[in-house]
Symmetry: C2
Subunit: 857 residues, 2 copies
């Protein structure tokens, strides 16, 4: 009874590929089976076969008897067994060819293709079967290359040796029936698919861990003596860049003499060997598939005495560049909607567009590995200080700045460097964050290296030393440090991407601004199609060599008069910065954050720099040191910074406000669209802080209006970086035009976790599953996200016209961008180099949150 029941059920799990499109759903039979059924349904010539369902495969693997196979493929035809998982491209054993061949039953095939060739086919089956079922490598013995399309000739002795070797090693004879072979092969494929490493690969790629696989069994195809025969691959576009055309390869069936030398295998040839009629048929098949599925396909085919038979088809594997071109072309042709084109591109993949990359085939002399902190690759001479990097840039040389770790004093050098390498620090270290912001390739935490500062050498773990005359290549995409120059591919913003982002702008409702501190960054952002500047960190304007001394004078002033005098000298510098920024961003909003970092960050570090500054100031070194020590903080992140500076030393913010307003007046002269600067207070934790600062800024504005005799507008807002500011957003919104969430600091405070210090254990934390992801890279929805939701709800309840933005590193992260869209934010602001990513991610967020959003919508 039970056996009969099982047998009936088994028959239920088998379907012929020509049963009709609807009877072979991919959720039951896998993607390959579905695709083959669709091809058959489209009237294309497809190798006949059947599909086995996920459920059937599992039960077969658990020992259920193998059922009879319907026609086709029929009872005594050699079969090809192929995996049919829910998603393709996830590895695993792919296929096994020739199932059903056995020493005793080779006769009919030998008659058709010759005895030695038939033995060759069997040898391939034995070899592949041994590898799949027993984990044995018999290929060397047989001279057979597994999974190779070439045809092998084998004499009877050779086959005998192979069979007896198989029996020796496995303890049993090679199975003589198709059913035995199938039962063992299906079980082995199921086990391999469900093995630990395959599951990990799927997990790592975000694919379902335990779905499937299904299997496809097709009749094996053999060419005849007449006409052209062989296997081929046809792609409708160039997989490397998406250009339409005919790409792929064709391999004529050829004989191989055994015991074979691998070098004698026939090379794959180009498609031009094919007759025009076959190419036309392939074009037709491809066009049919594109119409059917809205994608560009890779088709596997056999040519059998000039007759075309399709064996498989799947979308062309693609990189970011080709993916964009394919999607845009398909949308232009009307094969898919623009919305679907937008949804097909993974936003993060656009990083490949925006930086130079190491050529895939380039030889690499890797001397150390670190964290891939900022993507892109660059080659340059080694420099060990920011000053050397600037000097190199001034000479027009490319320099790789190598530091133990970086600090604010290195920022100028980082700007000048072609790439940055640090020996310490994590993905959120100063070097990593700043380099990403600048778009400078960066590798951090290359712990295998050591700096010999005295000898001005970089030492690798294998004992090599690199000096200032040596060049390095950094691959910030892969996290590799290489000796010498390496071939790089230049960045390119193709027309297809430009079109795609234009469509994204049509769709998205979330603004995309850039975090840009300098005119150079503002220009990049503008070129990348930004909606404004969401965060201009004014402090970075003061690290310039021409300004830092004045800044330090201001900080170390021992009386208000001295401070005021220094501030008056800083005023025109700040004003000039803002005039330039406003000019570049004309017509777009610019949000300027008032001075934020603790003042000690601006002070000289190290005895030499201190002595130099003391000489410049005509002060005793001891005095400079003592004043600097007075400013020392145990936890600078949580100290005297942000709006606290504005409350306790109001002159600084007054100077900055004046510079902003005077710059606005200057830029507005004769301009059609006046600048409306947005002034933002950082690190607010109490409403009264904002009152005190607002009062002073409003007074500065009134004074500038009177002095200049013209009116101008500005918007005052708050950077929400402390949990308390988020909780009190209702209060804060009452007198603010906007709230912008500084999710870097907000994440630090919500977790009690310093970005600078988290690197030491972040990797371990993510590995242990403590954090799903580094919360500094992808917004922590459950914690920080709740604070954002609380704040936006309370802020909008109090002030319905409140603008809400996000200006942390998360502004460039697609999943965080989607969160911002769901939370009803007005904009995100990210590094200039991530603006294209954010534009696409914002469009996807709009599409995915529309109730009507269907992939084909």
């Amino acid at each position: 009874m039970e056996t009969a029941g099982v047998a009936e059920q088994l028959t239920d799990g088998i379907v012929a590929l020509d049963s009709g499109i609807d009877r072979v759903p991919d959720a039951t039979y896998g993607r390959r089976a579905m695709q083959l059924a669709r091809m058959t349904g489209l009237g294309l010539a497809v190798a006949p076969g059947v599909a086995l369902s996920f459920d059937l495969v599992r039960r077969l693997a658990e020992g259920a008897p193998f059922p009879e196979l319907p026609e086709p493929p029929g009872a005594d035809v050699p079969l090809v067994l192929r995996l049919s998982p829910l998603l393709r491209g996830l590895g695993g054993p792919d296929s096994l060819t020739g199932l059903g061949l056995a020493p005793d039953t080779l006769g009919p095939l030998g008659e058709r293709i010759g005895a030695d060739r038939a033995r060759g086919q069997l040898a391939r089956l034995i070899t592949d079967f041994a590898a799949l079922v027993h984990g044995l490598d018999l290929s060397a013995l047989a001279g057979v290359r597994p999974h190779d399309g070439s045809v092998i000739r084998l004499d009877a002795d050779g086959l005998g040796r192979l069979l007896s070797r198989y029996a020796d090693l496995t303890g049993r004879a090679f199975p003589g029936t198709r059913t035995e072979q199938l039962a063992a092969a299906v079980t082995a494929m199921w086990k391999a698919w469900n093995g630990r490493s395959a599951r990990l690969v799927r997990l790592a790629k975000g694919a379902p861990e335990q779905t499937g696989p299904g299997l496809v069994l097709q009749a094996m195809q053999f060419g005849g003596a007449a006409g052209l025969s062989g296997f081929g691959v046809f792609e409708q576009v160039d997989a490397g860049n998406g250009t339409p055309g005919r790409f792929g390869s064709f391999q004529r069936f050829r004989d191989v003499t055994l015991p074979g030398d691998p070098g004698t295998a026939p090379p794959e040839g180009p498609l031009c060997e094919l007759p025009p009629s076959v190419l036309a048929d392939l074009d037709t098949a491809g066009a049919a598939l594109t119409r059917d599925a809205g994608d560009a396909f890779r088709i596997e085919f056999a040519l059998l005495s000039d007759r075309l038979l399709l064996l498989d088809a799947m979308p062309v594997r693609r990189n970011a560049r080709s993916a964009v071109r394919i999607a845009v072309d398909l949308a232009r042709q009307g094969a898919i909607s623009r919305e679907r084109a937008l949804l097909q591109i993974e936003p993060k993949s656009l990083i490949e567009y925006l930086h130079r990359q190491v050529a895939a085939e380039a030889p690499r002399d890797v001397i150390a590995a670190g964290l891939a902190a900022s993507p892109g690759a660059a080659t340059g001479r080694i420099v060990f200080t920011a000053g050397e990097a600037q000097a190199a840039a001034a000479r027009g040389d490319h320099a790789v700045l190598v530091r133990g770790e970086t600090g604010p004093e290195d920022i100028r050098g980082m700007h000048s460097a072609a790439a940055v390498l640090t020996l310490r620090g994590g993905m959120s270290s100063h070097a990593a964050v700043i380099a990403r912001g600048m778009g400078v390739p960066c590798v951090v935490g290359a712990t295998g290296l050591r700096i010999d500062l005295a000898g001005r050498r970089l030492l690798s773990a294998d004992g090599r030393a690199f000096g200032p005359d040596d060049s390095l290549t950094l691959d910030g995409t892969a996290g590799e440090v290489m000796a010498g120059p390496v071939d790089l591919i230049a960045p390119e913003l193709t027309g297809a991407l430009s079109d795609l982002l234009g469509w994204a702008d049509d769709v998205r409702s979330l603004g995309v601004r850039a975090n840009a501190d300098t005119p150079a960054e503002a220009r990049i952002a503008r070129d990348f199609g930004v909606d404004g500047i969401g965060l201009c960190r004014t402090e970075n304007m003061f690290f310039d060599a021409a300004r830092i001394t004045t800044m330090r004078e201001m900080i170390l002033a021992d009386c208000p008069e001295t401070r005021q005098a220094a501030l008056e000298r800083l005023l025109p510098m700040q004003r000039a910065d803002f005039v330039e920024m406003f000019g570049i961003m004309r017509g777009l909003p610019v949000t300027i954050r008032l001075l934020d970092p603790p003042l000690h960050e601006f002070l000289p570090t190290g005895p030499e720099e201190t002595a130099e500054f003391a000489r410049a100031m005509d002060l005793p070194v001891a005095e400079v040191t003592a004043r600097a020590r007075d400013l020392f903080e145990v936890n600078p992140m949580l100290g005297m910074r942000g709006v606290r500076l504005g409350v306790v030393m109001p002159e600084i913010y007054e100077m900055q406000a004046r510079a902003i307003f005077e710059a606005a007046v200057e830029v507005n002269r004769g301009a059609a669209a006046p600048v409306v600067p947005e002034v933002m207070m950082p690190l607010v934790s109490a409403f009264r802080e904002t009152e005190l600062v607002k009062d002073r800024i409003d007074r500065v504005a009134a004074a500038v209006r009177t002095e200049q005799g013209v009116d101008f507008q500005y918007r005052l807002g708050i950077m929400v970086e402390t949990p308390r500011a988020a909780l009190r957003a209702g209060d804060l919104a009452a007198t603010s035009a906007f709230l912008s969430f500084g999710t870097n600091d907000l994440t630090q405070m919500t977790y009690g976790l310093s970005r600078d210090d988290a690197g030491r254990f972040m990797r371990e934390y993510v590995n242990l599953g403590v954090f799903d992801e580094d919360p500094f890279l992808s917004l922590d929805v459950e914690g920080v996200g709740e604070l954002l939701l609380i704040a936006s709800r309370r802020g909008r309840a109090r002030n319905p016209r409140l603008t809400l933005g996000l200006c942390g590193e998360h502004g460039g992260d697609p999943s965080s961008i989607r969160f911002c869209k769901l939370a009803g934010f007005d904009y995100v602001s990210c590094s200039p180099f991530r603006v294209p990513i954010a534009r696409l991610a914002a469009a996807q967020a709009s599409l995915l949150t529309r109730s009507s959003a269907e992939p084909d919508g």
Copy 2:
């Protein structure tokens, strides 16, 4: 019409003091008027008079005409004008005597008391009037001491000189009618009461800023020639300590010859000059007042030819000591309820009980002022290092430890010191927090001082130098540093306080635990009537000289084996600590926090200590320095600490868990009530952290159970210190027995404000009203408080049996305690020395949150 209306209203604002208790409410006429009306109503002999309402006084001050006065006091009697505000003891001009006297109308009074005495009374009026109305000091000219009860004789010339001087200085003659005098005096009193400085005094004392004042007008009293006459003050208890008895003074009316020498004024004498019948009458009056109002009173009286007339009465002014005694005695007598006694004592005032104080009258040679970081006073020799403090303690000497600032390495020295002085730091600096915890008097931020370490001297701003042979007295209650020894009052836990706290325990539902790290602190806490230990910080156990080297070995271990070996040596030390703690706290819960601080806090500081440690470890100094540098953190508060240590280096927590469990087994042997240790994980931010640590701790417990062959119980809980832990309390509560809010760190993270660094601007922030109060001292209800409420709601929703506690500094702050009661917490935990405060505050919180709680409840 309007004038008539106004006049009618004015008459409405006047009430005779004998109109009946209900007709003179203090909200309309002020506290003094109400008290006099009550005394009259009790049948006591009170000087007759009228009260003017707040509203009437305001309108008179605004220029309304002065109304007719009813009988008594009558039309032509000299009057005493006295302030009657809503609350007493808030300063301001108190009284004006003799209103209505004038040069032309002195006759009737002269006939009664003699012409020269009558002129003396007028001279007093002129002098006081000039001071009040015109701000002039004529007392020197007239030889009159203002506000002095003595009787003055003045001849006509003297009066003439005074009158013409008055006219010269004011530009007008002294007003000749009572109405003129009253109108001017009332206006002046109203203005003085509403002046800026008086308002600031009221604000500073938390009193209503702009209520009142009312006024009282009484007939002036003169003694006759017969019998004893004079003014006196009678108090039912000793204002200094609350002991019942007859206290006060009496001053016979005496003549003073003019121009008078202030030295000739009659001294106030003791009450024994009074006849027994008068004393008995005063006792009777006092008893009547106590029955009426439930308080101990101070009575002002006149004796007029042996006849007692009461002039005023108010509750005895008191300090903490007398307040407790008075309240407890009143409750014991049944004059007030125990609840009212509990509510009458300001919990913070109990600090006076718990420390020695500088005697009020003691001469002080103050050399610097700082922040009053930990109350109490102590005298000792100056020491500059922790080691010297320990050495002094070993010799039985008292030492004052003077440091720039303190760190963990100073803790032992702080324990040994009589008091601690730091030149830097705020109320939340290491020194302040630790000293408060220890109950050691402490002054921090004494910026006027400088340490000359080379010369081993402390230098004051006025150029004096103090060396190791000099002694200092610190007043941690006032924040003063004094040269040499100063008289101190010893601490005392009197029977009355003990009774009061017993009543508090009967009433309160909120548990009070102590933050105690050592057996010594646990003993203090137990003596102070604690309900358990809410926070035992295990790290402080490792700073002991015998342990620190092993601890450092563990930290700097370069392989797991070395670390394990060091941990095995630390295990018995930790176990011994816990055995002792559990023994002291037998029957009460003990919550042990696993290691929390970043490991670098344990490393040697400074070259000498580093060299010494390197010698002990037989390591090169450079290696020790390099390893220490590897552990450096930019923001140690937000770095590799707390549960992060437990996740990344699990061996440490495993050792601690083993020590706790083995100690519990040892203490439980033969004990009736077994110890149930509570193990707490610090700085949690993600649920998975707690899973990983819980898993290991549970395994250690299972191992100890197997090894020891006995069972024991323990509770695992979480210290909620990060905003994220508060938000995710629902998750955390699922597997936790308790959540304890570490509000120190939670406040730091919610504000983004480091306690160690906030000192630099906290004072300015509070002054500017940015923060109402230092949020590290009193819980920030709006921000941190909301997180506590969110967490307690979510935690209890997930796990209704969840225990909720608070173990930050706020656990000793009465308003924070009240918040915890309202939030439904189970306990607060505070410094041992604040336990009595917390017990009282918890009782008050229970009383104030009962719906039936009335002051006389």
